[in-house]
């Protein structure tokens, strides 16, 4: 596989190293002179110096072949977005993966149709949520392309849903309960399932419906 990696910082260099170890062919692009010189010692002719948002730099790095995949891993979200747009729409690169530095920019990547994306900050925050018990609704998985997410909630004694059947709940439109975990055993949630205090419930929903779901399941 031929891979083009834009951005030779910590993320880009580590990804490039890992890909080479797996036997892939690649070109790494780095703009800063000092970083480039360090990379050149290790990656030799496989690293090119330049601004990866410039078309001639991308072409010198072999974007016209085109690569099987392009990874936009610079520390600048605008650059990563532009690199991906150029790669996909000008050079028909079949697959791109973009790094999101500031999670607030995720919406812009989505708007421009750049997917998949990876945001370390958002991943860490999701894990923190998972670990910190005061967050009553935990994001487990984002299905970005489907525009859905899977969350976990814990029903307690005061929850309005405790003692109710799933079919009797007014769940927000665009949401559904998946499963109920009780005493270490999980079961698929059906209409006749009755929720109890202590249940851990998985739900699938459209992003933005969390508050409505929280109201129905956890507090009125």
């Amino acid at each position: 596989m031929y891979v083009l990696v834009a951005g030779g910082g910590k993320v880009g260099a580590n990804v490039a190293r890992s890909l080479l170890r797996l036997g892939h062919e690649l070109t790494l692009i780095e703009q800063r002179r000092d970083t480039f010189e360090r990379l050149e010692d290790e990656f030799e002719h496989q690293v090119k110096r330049g601004d990866a948002t410039e078309l001639y730099v991308l072409e010198r790095a072999g974007i016209a072949r085109p690569p099987d995949i392009l990874l936009a891993l610079t520390g600048d979200d605008e650059d990563n977005m532009v690199i991906c747009q150029i790669a996909k729409e000008k050079y028909a690169v079949p697959k791109v993966i973009a790094r999101v530095n500031d999670p607030r920019n995720q919406a812009h990547f989505d708007l421009l149709g750049i997917s998949p994306t990876v945001c370390a900050t958002a991943r860490i925050m999701a894990l923190v949520e998972h670990e910190v018990p005061e967050h009553d609704l935990i994001h487990l998985l984002e299905l970005r392309r489907e525009n859905l997410e899977i969350v976990e909630v814990q029903i307690d004694r005061d929850s309005p849903s405790a003692g109710k059947r799933v079919e009797g709940l007014s769940l927000p439109e665009g949401s559904r309960l998946i499963s109920v975990m009780r005493n270490g055993k999980a079961e698929i949630a059906v209409g006749a399932t009755t929720l109890e205090a202590g249940d851990q419930v998985l739900a699938i929903l459209e992003p933005g419906k969390e508050d409505e779901l929280r109201r129905v399941l956890l507090r009125s």
Binding site: T53, E54, L55, Y56, D76, D77, E78, D79, M81, V82, I86, E89, K90, R104, N105, A107, H108, L111, L112
Partner: protein, 142 residues
Amino acid sequence: MKALVIGCGRVGSSIALQLDGEGWDVVVVDESEDALSRLGDHWPGSFLVGHGMDADLLRDAGIEDADAVVVATDGDNTNIVIGQVAQKRFDVQCVVVRVLDPARARFFRERGLRTVCPTSVAIETLMDAVRACEIPAAKAAG
């Protein structure tokens, strides 16, 4: 009519002042508060400090009912992304984006973004100026 000007450097500030002079309601956005001084001592429009990539800030600046958005920060890629956000997310009809790199300006222009490339304009103007020089016939032949 209402215009947003993102980026208040030499270009953005002049555009803001001219639009104001032509009767527009102008809101200027810049990352640096110091940029306000480029608008003179009596800037009658609004001025917001923040980054044009911030959708909440754009909303505060009134992008949802803006008739025109001019994007002229000093970063080409920042301008390209903000321009597309204004066009695709906020549905602004008139979006004008400064892009210094002719190659990127052309690529995004072909994709429906109204980019203006001062570099290309400078090249054309300079070439015209060179062509307009009167070279003595003897030298031109030799």
